[in-house]
């Protein structure tokens, strides 16, 4: 097993000696993970504030002087882009991927620590460039997070001068950062697993992050080329995406380009992006459910294959975002079929999560509450996706509030439920302290019920035909006044949900400053990351000797065993069985 030899090279560990080496220019995956996570949460809070501003306009149109049609579109655009790319992708992969992969597969660090460090600093640079557009003349772009040309680079759209350029440049830098990190994650999983850690013994968290990273490495290049091509179109006057156009009364020089080409490139990235966010979330929630239900994950092998199959299928469904784009309509048959097929492995995952709880010993801890909340929100969001994926139903619903409600349930609320579950779950490992349970529960109930209050009615406004990305709905004969009062209520719910996030922020700060030390392994988890010599793990993770893995990560409540979990690193002969106890399951 040559990979173990690489991972075990204790002599080559260079422990950092200075503060800067340890915490700033750090090459330790755990420090980098925390840097990624803090930056992502910081921009996420900005995006949260933008969503409140946007909701204020929708709920109380004509009330706020500082929100005009330009700034409204800027809020919409920046909220979407930050949430999808700079928060979710960065936090799930750069944050949790970085922290958990080496600990879960039993290695000392990522295989390319220096590249890993660069990955974070490029990510930070991309965030700075993105935020700089708020201060650029004309402000950030207001083209919608999909940045569709020609509109994205023409007069009549906010941020057409520097905003769009900064956005595209920032995306390009982000992709460079992602590629450096992503190559690391994939290589580490494939090459640096410890003795006994076969692929089919890896926790589903690692499977989810690993598969998502591979998706990212294939998908992000499509976004990179489209960003570069659009930069050429706007700066050098090329016509990749620009046909002959009369823009606001002025004929332009462009001709011969195709706006639909951009949409294909964008969604060839954009759809896998949904799963780049979803698969790590799927993996992490599986582990949280299993640990807190004291029961092995149900159908592990099926769960692994479902992740892999969903990942593969996610590359052949992209044009379901384009049913009404004017592409060849015969594509509709193909993409509707592939899209609905993807529902089957996804449904299996949901069944297996519920079946994991079935006949379990469910500890209703804060992470478990978020996990149960996730099953509910994800089921809801997944099922509404079956409407939009079925090409004919997309016709009345596309570009209405239904779409907004659907994708927020499935890729906003659901991954965020997972992220909170994961933060509450792994916080004792990362900081050595446990977040306050009471505040955690308040945070959960406010977030779970509040978000459902936002999005459940929004689906129905969509059925009515209320269009999205409208600064003001104005008077339309088909919209009764109740639409406007509902919009007000949704805005109130959104503000309440935003306020509940302050409880979380306070909880984190309070715990870090005042919290008492938690137990080493407070949840009694069997997977490797909880069994390091020090908690939080030190540089190099494993002290003198790498662990050896003897079993899968889900030996909970093994019949006959005295304790209700058997760590992955415990050999069969060391398991404390009751007299006459059965041998554990082995995969």
């Amino acid at each position: 097993m040559s990979h173990v030899a690489i991972a075990d090279q204790e002599a080559h560990l260079h422990h950092p000696k200075t503060f800067i080496g340890k915490y700033i220019w750090s090459q330790d995956h755990k420090v980098i993970a925390i840097q990624y996570a803090s930056t992502a949460i910081f921009v996420g809070l900005i995006a949260l504030a933008l969503s409140v501003l946007m909701r204020l306009q929708l709920g109380y149109p004509d009330q706020f002087d500082f929100i005009n049609p330009n700034s409204y579109l800027q809020f919409v655009t920046m909220h979407g882009m930050i949430m999808v790319i700079y928060l979710l992708t960065a936090l799930l992969l750069g944050g949790f991927g970085n922290y958990l992969i080496p600990l879960m597969v039993g290695t000392r660090d990522m295989v390319f620590p220096y590249l890993n460090m660069l990955s974070y600093w490029f990510y930070l640079l991309s965030v700075i460039v993105l935020l700089a557009s708020f201060f650029a003349p004309g402000g950030p772009t207001g083209a919608g997070w999909t940045l569709y040309p020609p509109q994205a680079i023409l007069e009549g759209t906010p941020g057409v001068g520097s905003g769009i350029v900064l956005m595209l440049v920032s995306l390009a830098i982000f992709i460079v950062a992602f590629t450096m990190g992503g190559l690391n994650y994939v290589t580490t999983v494939l090459q640096a697993r410890t003795r006994g850690m076969t692929l089919m013994r890896m926790p589903l968290t690692v499977w989810g992050i690993f598969t998502a990273t591979i998706l990212g490495l294939f998908a992000f290049p499509a976004l990179l080329v489209s960003a570069i091509m659009m930069l050429f179109d706007t700066l050098a006057g090329t016509s990749f995406f620009m046909p002959a156009i009369v823009s606001l009364g002025e004929p332009l020089e462009h001709e011969g380009g195709s706006p639909i080409l951009f949409q294909h490139l964008f969604w060839f990235f954009g759809h896998p992006e949904v799963y780049i966010v979803a698969l790590p979330a799927f993996g992490m929630i599986s582990d949280v459910l299993s640990v807190h239900a004291r029961k092995n994950i149900f159908g592990y092998r099926m769960m692994v294959w479902a992740i892999v199959i969903i990942g593969g299928l996610s590359f052949v469904v992209w044009a379901h975002h384009m049913y009404v784009s004017g592409m060849n309509p015969y594509f509709g048959f193909f993409f509707a079929t592939t899209t609905l097929i993807i529902a089957v492995p996804t449904a299996i995952k949901v069944y297996n999560w519920v079946l994991t709880l079935w006949r379990g010993n469910i500890h209703l801890t804060v992470p478990m509450l978020f996990a149960i909340g996730f099953i509910f929100t994800f089921t809801h969001g997944g099922l509404s996706g079956l409407f939009l994926g079925n090409v004919v139903i997309d016709l009345p619903l596309s570009d209405t509030f239904f779409v907004v409600a659907h994708f927020h349930m499935v890729m906003g609320v659901s991954p965020i439920m997972v992220l909170f579950a994961a933060i509450y779950h792994w916080f004792p490992l990362i900081s050595g302290k446990q977040l306050h349970t009471g505040m955690g529960k308040i945070h959960f109930w406010g977030t779970f019920l509040g978000t459902y209050a936002i999005y459940l009615p929004m689906h129905y406004l969509g059925f009515l035909g209320v269009p999205r990305r409208y600064y003001a709905l104005g008077d339309s004969s088909f919209m009764p006044d109740s639409v406007h009062s509902m919009n007000e209520d949704i805005t109130l719910a959104a503000i309440i949900v935003a306020l509940f996030q302050l409880v979380f922020i306070f909880n984190v700060i309070w715990t870090v400053c005042r919290g008492s030390r938690s137990e080493r392994n407070p949840w009694g988890a069997a997977s490797l990351e909880w069994h390091t010599p020090d908690v939080p793990p030190g540089h190099g993770n494993w002290g003198d000797k790498l662990p050896t893995v003897y079993r899968w990560a889900y030996d909970y409540s093994v019949p006959g065993a005295r304790k209700d979990f058997i760590p992955q690193s415990t050999p069969e002969e060391d398991v404390d069985y009751e007299p006459g106890g059965r041998k554990s399951h082995e995969t």
Partner: protein
């Protein structure tokens, strides 16, 4: 424990919400009942899964919550259970997909006898074109667009000569007649959506897309643009009027063919001057307007804009609000030039007057702050407020500020721009709502005043608008 009850409660709330929601699909007005049917089937399938999964979840959480010394069951997998669930899910998916794909097959194939109508989108207006007797539309391209040919029709294509140009946001269609709507954009992406018809499709510059439907119910239906098309996306609205075939024919006859719009008559300035003597009483011999008579500055306006306003006055689209007494005065005046030739001569004469900028009368605004407010106006009215003929946006620079103030007020109070035929007024109504604070209004006017200082030479006016390309 609580969470199990809450999940149960949320299932009940969701089902009740679904049954009691006042918001639901609009009453259908087209032949696409099959879309609604597919939605209904999907609701049965997904609703069953939603209820089953979440009730089971709630029960499991309640039943297997930690209590006493209970221990979890150890069961890594259950092949037959997993297979059954996979099979049932697949059946559900097939049940939803099959009617969807069958309906899609019909949606993408328009019948051969469908009425051909072209919808043209540009920021932020709809216009329409219908074929003439040859039942074929002439070629068109953004490169042919000019103030004289705003539809961009190929002047060399004989098929385009008899095309009927509907320069209005209102499209009339005959009931129970299938329509193939060809979609064309001259600038950015738009989307033609009528909620009651169910179907929608993007307009893509550089190519032509289509949708087809058969209106089955008479009435007026909103057209919405549902692809983000810039800052005034939300104002891009129109109306489809579905009516009997006879009424439709009658409506169609009111619009000119492409050939007719291209015939330019020579105007008679002498006759125009004579006609203008009536107007000069209030608007002044130089056309510069007079605040005492509430008469705006005409010398800076384009003939197209003035012609449209005269038509609006005559047709009860402008000046019809009972409290708009100033507008009412113009209604009777507009009737004096209801003859087409008279109107052309009059407007040609006004055009021949040298443009004069009106002096500012309201000095309370802060021009710098007004510049920020004006950012929203720039897209249509131009950076210099020079107006854009192709967008039907009048020149503002040089116009009397008291007049602009009154018009903005009229828009926001609904005295102007509420008539369904006033396509641009509807847009301005939505736009004036973006200025809530009355101080901002004065700031805006102060800024516009800086764009054309009195006596400035920067006041050239063309027949159709400000800066021509």
């Amino acid at each position: 424990m609580v969470i199990a009850l809450i999940i149960l409660g949320l299932v009940v709330v969701t089902v009740l919400f679904h049954l009691l929601s006042p918001w639901w699909l609009t009453p259908i007005a087209s032949n696409w009942q099959s879309i609604d049917t597919t939605i209904e089937i999907s609701f049965w399938v997904t609703g069953a899964v939603f209820i089953a999964v979440n009730l089971f979840l709630a029960w499991v959480v309640w039943r297997y919550r930690k209590h006493g010394n209970n221990k979890a069951h150890y069961e890594p997998e259950n092949k037959s259970l997993e297979s059954w669930l996979t099979i049932i899910t697949t059946i559900g998916v097939v049940a939803m997909l099959t009617p969807g794909l069958i309906a899609w097959g019909r949606i993408i194939n328009a019948p051969a006898d469908a009425l051909i109508v072209e919808a043209i989108g540009q920021q932020w207006q709809w216009t329409f074109r219908l074929p003439g007797k040859d039942n074929a539309l002439g070629g068109a391209d953004a490169r042919f667009v000019s103030p004289e040919n705003p539809f961009g029709i190929d002047p060399t294509d004989p098929a385009g000569r008899d095309d009927i140009l509907v320069n209005s946001q209102r499209l009339h269609l005959p009931v129970n007649q299938s329509v193939k709507l060809l979609l064309r954009s001259n600038d950015v992406l738009h989307n033609f959506a009528v909620p009651q018809f169910r179907v929608k499709m993007d307009l893509v510059p550089g190519t032509e897309t289509y949708q087809w439907f058969e209106p089955t119910r008479e009435g007026e239906f909103d057209i919405l643009c549902e692809e983000l098309c810039g800052l005034a996306h939300f104002t891009m609205r129109g109306t489809v009027v579905v009516e009997s075939a006879e009424k439709f024919q009658q409506w169609l006859q009111g619009y000119p063919t492409f050939a007719q719009t291209q015939v330019m008559h020579n105007a008679d300035l002498v006759a125009g001057k004579q006609l203008y003597s009536n107007c000069a009483v209030c608007h002044g011999a130089d056309g510069a307007g007079n605040q005492n008579f509430n008469a705006p500055n005409l010398s800076i306006l384009s003939a197209d804009y003035m012609a449209r306003q005269l038509r609006y006055y005559r047709d009860g689209i402008r000046g019809a609000h009972p409290r708009d007494t100033i507008g009412q005065q113009m209604v009777s005046m507009a009737y004096t030039v209801s003859d087409k030739a008279d109107e052309r001569n009059l407007l040609a004469y006004i055009q021949s007057l040298p443009p004069v900028a009106s002096p500012p009368s309201r000095n309370s605004g802060n021009a710098k702050a007004g510049g920020a407010v004006f950012e929203v106006c720039v897209a249509c009215h131009g950076v210099e407020a020079q107006g854009k003929g192709l967008l039907s946006a009048p020149r503002l620079a040089g116009q009397a500020d008291w007049y602009l103030y009154r018009q903005l007020k009229h828009y926001s109070m609904g005295w102007r721009g509420t008539h369904p035929e006033d396509q641009f007024g509807t847009q301005m109504r939505l736009m004036t709502r973006t200025i809530q604070n009355p101080e901002r209004l004065d700031d805006l006017l102060a800024y516009i005043a800086t764009l054309a200082p009195q006596g400035s030479a920067n006041l050239s006016v063309s027949s159709t608008g400000g800066d021509r390309p």
